[in-house]
Structures are given as C-alpha cells and as structure tokens.
C-alpha cells in the first residue's frame, strides 16, 4: 500500500503542464483530484516515473457561461459543480448525477475532468455528459480541438485524449427547461453504479418532444439508449407509454457480469431504471 517512487511536478499553467507532459512522454501520469489515481498508485497497478499535478492551474477551474453552453473547467471539483447555479439551471442532469458520485469527501477533491478522462464505465459523469451531447475541449502542443461526446469515450478507460494532450474543459449545451433525473442502482449509497440511467426530456403539452438517455455501466463505455430516445418522441408522459418505450433500454448494450449481478440482470435493471428516470424527468 505504498506507491512506487515518482517525480512530482505541479505546473501553474496549461502550457507548462503540456511541456512537462511532452518531456516525460508515456512515463507520466496526470494527477487531477487523485481520488482514483492515488489508490491505483498505492496498489501499484501503475508506477509512473513522473506525476504531473494539475491542481495549481487556476485557469482549469470554475464554471462559466458561453452563449448556448455552460463551460466547466476540467479541474473543477464535483462539489463546485454540484453547488453551481449555472449547471443546475441549464444542465440539471449533471447536478443530479454528481449528487450521487461516491460520498461528500470524494466530491470535495475529485474533479469532473479527471473522472471523464479516467473513463471508468461505472463512473457517474460519463452517461449524463453523453446524454447532454457535451463537447470535450482537448489541448495539446498544437492547440485546442473539440471532440463530440459520441467520439470521446473509446473503450474501457480509453478516451480521445491522446498522448501529450490534456482535457481542459467540457462545454455542455444548455438544456434549459428540460426535465432530468439520474437513477442509480446500488446496494449501499456510496458504491459504484451497478447500473444507472441518466435521462433528460423536453415535455411539450404533456407529450415528450425530445429525450436523451445515457447508460452507466452497461458496456465498456457510457452508452446512449437511442432506441428508447426515438421511441419516446411524441409519446404521452404516462407510465404505460414510457414503460413500453423503455423496454428497449438494453438494446445494443454489452453489460458486464460480476458479483453485483450478471449481464441479464443488468439488462433488466436498465429497462426498470430507464422507466423511472424518464417518468421522473417528465414530471409524471
């Protein structure tokens, strides 16, 4: 339970962090909040030569507004996103999900950017970020590029962030006035999701006009339940209609089997949680 020795640097700008990353190459690990990385180092699942701590880069922290988007710096803690009125008002699905992340102690140090790049499929921010069609701002020595949510999550613990690059911000399109709910199924309150469903819907006159559904821990990456989204459009927000549409929630998924449940059980959970999430999001 003692990490292998490493060099430690704590740059104060993105430019300096990129320079440190370029110099160290793939022998370096980037430290965000450390709530996943520090256990990994301690269990020696990874033994980097150098740890680059982003914690002193002020430009990576905070929530701001940019036209139709809410911009969240990659080093903003869960707690600061949870407390953000901007996020609550325009991307309430993210607030819902972050209230369910681990426990308050973890949320005070863990960061949204760190979690997204770590890309654990049981993590709680991936599915809402995907459902909200978030844009990921990735910075490298050649400048900034923006990656769509659908292209960001590539595989288990793998994202579009390449070698020598950093996720610097996420841009969440405003979903002002949309209903939202994150339904997380766990045995004890601060556990990783066995399965969770992130739903945000726009209801117009009792009818679901648009729906976006993200699935947590139903495959090696967060997934969109597109079949459910399509089936919901134009439906009344009633128990029966929503139940019917959500029967397709596990379509195209490949959930894991483990001590918490086998994959068939998870497929069943997805349909149940999707129905609950959509009904709650629709205010029904």
């Amino acid at each position: 339970m003692i990490p292998a020795s490493f060099d430690y640097v704590a740059p104060t700008s993105v430019a300096d962090a990129l320079a440190a990353l370029a110099e160290a190459g793939d022998d370096a690990k980037v430290l965000a909040g450390g709530q996943s990385l520090l256990p990994i180092l301690r269990m020696r699942l990874n033994a980097p030569e150098k740890v680059i701590d982003l914690g002193r880069i002020e430009e990576l922290k905070g929530v701001s507004e940019d036209g139709d988007h809410v911009v969240i710096g990659a080093m903003t803690t869960y707690a600061d996103v949870l407390a953000s009125d901007l996020v609550r008002q325009h991307a309430g699905l993210l607030t819902d999900a972050i209230a369910e992340v681990a426990d308050p102690q973890i949320r005070h140090r863990g960061t949204v950017g760190g979690a997204l790049v770590h890309a654990d499929p049981a993590g709680d921010v991936g599915a809402p970020a995907l459902a909200l069609e978030t844009e990921f701002v990735i910075t490298g020595s050649g400048g900034e590029r923006t990656v769509a949510a659908a292209d960001f999550f590539q595989d288990l613990f793998e994202t579009a962030v390449g070698e020598g690059e950093l996720l610097t911000a996420i841009r969440v399109p405003k979903h002002t006035g949309w209903g939202h709910r994150y339904e997380k199924f766990v045995r004890v309150s601060h556990q990783w999701s066995i399965v969770a469903v992130a739903a945000t819907v726009r209801v117009d006159g009792g009818t679901i006009a648009e729906a976006r559904i993200g699935l947590t821990n139903m495959g090696s990456t967060p997934l969109r339940a597109t079949a459910v989204e399509q089936a919901l459009v134009g439906k009344a927000a009633t128990d029966e209609a929503v139940r019917e549409a959500c029967a397709a929630a596990a379509e195209g998924t490949n959930p894991p089997s483990d001590l918490n449940g086998d994959s068939d059980y998870r497929r069943h959970l997805a349909t149940v949680l999707a129905r609950r999430a959509v009904l709650a999001a629709a205010g029904a």
Partner: protein
Amino acid sequence: MREAGKGAGAEPREDDVPDLATLSGAGLVSGLRKGDAVTVQSRTTPAVSFTLNGAPIEVAVEAGVSLLDLLRERLDLTGTKKGCNQGACGVCTVLVDGRRVLGCLTLVAQLDAREVTTIEGVGTPEQPHDLQRAFIGADGFQCGYCTSGQICSALGMLRELADGVPSAVAEHVAAQPGSSELEMRERMSGNLCRCGAYNGIVDAIAAYADAAGGHR
C-alpha cells in the same frame, strides 16, 4: 476519560520520541514530533507550507506521502485513523479549508497554502468540542475507531447544509436541503461505522445541531 497511551502498563509516549538528530533525516523542516516510520521513496521531496490546527507548518516529504501518513507516522497526530487507505471508509476524514476530505487520498504535496484541521484541532480531552460531548452523551460510538472521522465529517456536513449544498435524497436536488434523518444519513454516508452505532451518531449530530441553533 483516559488519555491515549496512558493505560495500565503502557510506557509514556515521550520515551518513543527519538531525538532531533535522528529526525533531521526524515525530511521535515519544522513541526516535527516523531521519527520517520514510513518507507515511501521518491526522487522529489517538494517543500510544502500549510496551516495545521491553527499553526503554520513546513514540511518536505517524498511526493508519494499522504496527509494521513504525515499526520500519523511523522507528526504523531494519531487521532486521525487509518482504515481502508483507499477512500472507501471515511475513517481518515479531516477538514481542508473547512471542507471534509480523506487524508488517505490527499498527498502532502497538494496542501500548499491550505488550512488543515484534524480531530486534535477540534477539541482536547480537557476541553472537548460540544459535538464530542454530544457523541459521548448519545453513545455515538462503540469501539471508537471511526469517531474522529465521524466528528470531522459532521462538522463539514453541517457547514454544507448551511451553505445549501444539494443532496441526492432530496425530492429535487435543487430544493433547499431538508433536515430529515434520512437526509443526515445520506450526507454522512462517506463514514462507515462497523460497530453499527449509526443511530447514536445521528442522534449526537442532531443534538449538537439543535443546541447550536444551526441547521439540521
């Protein structure tokens, strides 16, 4: 109340403290009280200055050393306990800038210019904090191993309630936080008690919050 380490047959703690010459090799610049029992190795030992229980401290430890190991192994502040050492149990909860965090998942190197409060900064055996008295009054523990973490966590939790931080059990997360027992249990969910003294813990926090006229 019996002081730690002063039980029948126990040697006085002072005998365990090595002299300063031994300590200088541990990499601590000041604030030193006990020798180096940690074998973490690192090629860099960043110097870090922060405030610990109201007093300034400067240390230079290997980059891999956690706040928890610094407190227990090098500063002899053993009120903060080590449980799982991987962020699952909450036993090592301390306050950094008034916010509750886990000592095991915080590197000393990350503490520059921060303000750290441990249970030793909350109260003393002679002058316990009102919340500590409330834990005694309500039997908020059995073995006591999780208690310092519970108390630091509860202090942070009550501040979060006062600040209107949302929680997952509220009807809508955006609603002003409520004061139900369920709400308090959710907000304290990061602190496990394997004796199962949860009822007493909730009663203690509620009694303290009521007496303090604060939120609950």
